[in-house]
């Protein structure tokens, strides 16, 4: 089976989500990475994780990925180079590409998956109801099948292969659909370990009451050498950037300890953190759903528990 993996590169290196998909893909067939942008030195890592070839569009020059990259993919497919399967990480850029491509090819796209299997047909699995139920769907009809996967669905592991062979891919002239332009890029600064790689994650929700109180989450994370995180409620409220969000539409984290402070435990939040080895929850409502999955639950006020906890940990030095 021929597989394309849509590969994302930041700061010159493939994202972890990309390497996860490549690792899985190479167990299913022959893999090409599809890069929107310049490959730079990333061909080595892409190759080591399974990409025999690297299809690259070169810099998109301010175009949004959706129209430009889907057009480039369609042109390759129309030229007789159709893969059987296209795997993409569940990121914003990739979502736009998959959506546009599905219309161009008149094929369905299946999103939010965490598992894939092939037995003549291609089957993908997605969690519903906060991960309590797993639904497996098979693609009917002919390929290319387009499937998107949540982060951390697979474990990234390098194999022995060398760098992938880079092949330049033309981006067809944009029609009206490509009229949007990026005029400036803003990167939110962050320090400490990356949220999706941290061993300890301290997460705050609406129960903190106000934006200023998020400072407690940051200090606790700092003392524990962990990463601060958030529920969508306080991201939407503008207290912290989107990059802090854990859950269905944010990051998936699997740290050894996840500390949820003033978070109710909505199903959409839990799918992003229930893979943590240990979960600690602080919530003043003893009926809060988060207690249903917490290894240690403290029914209490974050404004009382957190300052004491921070003080006690500081005192230990």
């Amino acid at each position: 089976m021929n597989i394309w993996v849509y590969a994302e590169i930041t700061d010159g290196a493939p994202t972890t989500g990309t390497l996860e998909l490549l690792t899985k893909a190479r167990s299913l067939g022959t893999v090409a990475a599809f890069v929107a942008g310049d490959v730079g030195n990333a061909a080595a890592a892409l190759g080591a994780h399974g990409a025999a070839t690297v299809l690259a569009t070169g810099d998109l020059a301010g175009r949004l990925p959706g129209p430009a990259v889907s057009a480039a993919m369609q042109a390759l497919i129309a030229g007789g180079n159709a893969p059987d399967l296209i795997m993409m990480p569940m990121t914003y850029g990739a979502r736009d590409i998959a959506s546009r491509l599905s219309v161009k090819l008149d094929k369905t796209v299946l999103t939010n998956n965490v598992e894939i299997s092939t037995d003549g047909s291609v089957n993908v699995t997605t969690p519903v109801f906060g991960g309590n139920v797993m639904v497996t769907t098979t693609f009917t009809g002919t390929g290319p099948h387009i499937a998107m996967f949540r982060p951390k669905s697979f474990v990234a592991e390098a194999g022995g292969a060398g760098a992938g062979t880079v092949i330049a891919v033309a981006v067809p002239d944009a029609d009206a659909t490509g009229a949007a332009r990026v005029t400036a890029v803003h990167v939110e600064e962050s320090s400490g370990p990356k949220l999706d790689e941290a061993a300890i994650v301290v997460s705050g929700g609406r129960g903190l009451g106000e934006a200023a109180k998020y400072e407690m989450i940051e200090s606790l994370a700092k003392i524990l050498k962990g990463a601060p995180a958030a529920s969508r409620a306080i991201v939407d409220a503008g207290w912290v950037p989107y990059s802090y969000q854990v859950g269905q539409t944010g990051k998936v984290v699997k740290p050894s300890v996840y500390i949820a402070c003033g978070i109710s435990g909505a199903t959409q939040h839990m799918v992003g953190m229930k893979g943590a080895k240990n979960i600690i929850a602080i919530n003043k409502d003893k009926e809060a759903p988060i207690f249903g999955i917490a290894d240690l639950g403290i029914v209490g006020d974050v404004h009382k528990v957190l300052p004491k906890l921070i003080e006690a940990l500081k005192a230990r030095g």
Partner: protein
Amino acid sequence: MNIVVCVKQIPDPANPGALDPGTNTLKREGKLILDESDSYGVEMALQLVDKAGGGEVALVSMAPNGEVSGLRTALAMGAARGVLVSDPSLQGSDALTTAKILAAAAQRLGSADLIIAATESSDGYTGTVPEQMAEVLGLPSVTFAKKVEITGGILKAQRQTDAGFDDVECPLPLVLSVTAGVVEPRYPSFKGIMAAKSKPVETVTAADLGVAGVGWAGAGQKIVSVVAAEARGAGEVVEDDGEGFAKIVSFLENLKVI
């Protein structure tokens, strides 16, 4: 400024749904409500039309059984009219078919300067419908917008990214998907609720819109299994008596992370 807003009508999330064991799709029974995610799009549209000094906000929705209660909520907020696509043959449609239907319904309302949807629906959350609609209509798009303004026929937005946000510009017409929190949705006033009762909602079928191959037959997917995931049990839950923090300290000590 004429704006079309996609409004999905969904079962009340307060009563989580279930999968129909016969068809393996989400059961959609009882009264449907306006998806909260779409209330942001409705509010944004009302504000943009207001700023432009004229025009109208119209709605499109696809829902079974001629369901209009969610549409009425959006009309009560201030939208002028709507098209409802309701047709038993649509049952089992995938996101691609939904996008084709909504695109055709939007066109039925006349030419719009802007079509707004939410980044993902609360119940289905495929997250692909807005960008698929844009492609069906041959329009550009600005997705995942968290701040929007329009001047001189150009839309400027902050587009949320994994690293932060991008400033994006695009000439109208286009499809826009907005995140929750982009604006504060208004509550319908009593006057608005009364007025909404007589606002026009046209109900049409897939055939009326000229979209073929819908429903189960047209979907490029089929559910093959539904299984319960391994449940994660609850551990110890204690009331904070002023010493709750110490429980956490010893828990972390036992794990040897401190």
